[in-house]
């Protein structure tokens, strides 16, 4: 089995993701754990690029590295009085967590093996989407043209009532509710007038 360049990059990235994810759960300094989490996110972005999903890679960087990780760092600084807290990260029940994690992995792998169960093929479980044939990479001159076409398709699918308009509006409602709820929880009682 010979390795081409993209497979090599994938292997290195996968290694980085696994190792940094391990450090996230074992690092004794909480801020260091957050930084390892950022490394994991960056590795995910590289995986998206390898899958010809450049837009998702950028979303991963903007939302997860640019926003979520900063939120996490803030949360650490707000909840712990001292940032050099070096207590152990695991508790007595860690092996239950490991069992659940392995179970989820096995379940996900099994589902990927099921023919057409969750794929967007002809027998799609997602209603409406089967009517629009997905563009195939072979139809385009190169990967860049394919990426551009799929991005426009995504925009059309998001705004078309037959496809994902209702989920989009629901996402909007979810975000608004999340904002309202989190503000109510996060604010101090004495700040309220």
């Amino acid at each position: 089995m010979s390795l081409d360049a993209s497979q090599f990059v994938f292997l290195v990235t996968a290694l980085v993701i696994v190792v940094s994810a391990l450090f996230v759960v074992t690092a004794r300094n909480l801020v260091h754990a957050a930084l390892w989490l950022i490394a994991t996110f960056a590795g995910m972005a590289v995986i998206f690029v390898l899958l010809n999903a450049g837009f998702l890679a950028l979303v991963q960087v903007v939302v997860y590295i640019g926003a979520i990780s900063i939120l996490i760092i803030f949360a650490i600084m707000l909840t712990r009085r001292v940032m050099q807290d070096t207590g152990p990260q695991t508790n007595a029940n860690w092996y239950w967590g490991a069992v659940v994690a392995v179970g989820v992995l096995v379940a996900a792998l099994t589902m990927l093996q099921l023919p057409n169960a969750l794929t967007l093929g002809a027998s799609s479980l997602v209603p409406g989407f089967s009517s629009a044939p997905l563009p195939q990479p072979a139809e385009f001159a190169d990967a860049a043209a394919f990426n551009t076409a799929t991005l426009a398709n995504l925009g059309l699918a998001l705004s078309s009532p037959d496809h994902y308009l209702l989920p989009l509006l629901l996402v909007g409602a979810l975000l608004a509710v999340a904002m309202v709820g989190s503000i109510n929880i996060a604010r101090d009682d004495k700040e309220r007038e």
Binding site: D142, L175, M179
Partner: protein
């Protein structure tokens, strides 16, 4: 098959890391003097000995602003593919996506009205 443009970006990220690293390493390893002592490397706080821990607890307000930012960030990301396809979508779809914006703005209006956007 990976997009050639992304290969360029990947190589650029690596090279761009080397560019600033080179003068830093040159400065600290080759050209700069290396005569450190404890007083030199003590924390600089206007000539006064530093008092207490550096990592003190911060204001809630920072967290709240970041929360609102995250919500907006996630919402805006959906609009980019839509903007690319904008010339092809119907007037109805355009109005519906405005509805999406309107819902998020409703959340912002609530936060505003609660006074959480004020720096206290």
């Amino acid at each position: 098959m990976v997009d050639n443009n992304w290969i360029f970006i990947g190589v650029f990220l690596l090279i761009a890391g080397l560019f600033p690293a080179a003068p830093i390493i040159m400065g600290s390893m080759i050209f700069g003097p290396k005569k450190g002592n404890a007083v030199k490397s003590s924390t600089y706080e206007c000539g006064v000995e530093t008092v207490g821990d550096t990592w003190v607890q911060f204001k809630m307000q920072y967290y709240i602003f970041t929360l609102v930012f995250v919500v907006f960030d996630v919402g805006m990301v959906f609009l980019f593919p839509f903007a690319i396809a904008y010339q092809q979508v119907s007037l109805f779809a355009a109005l519906a996506v405005m509805g999406f914006l309107f819902i998020i703005v409703g959340g912002l209006a609530y936060v505003w009205q609660k006074g959480a956007l004020r720096w206290v």
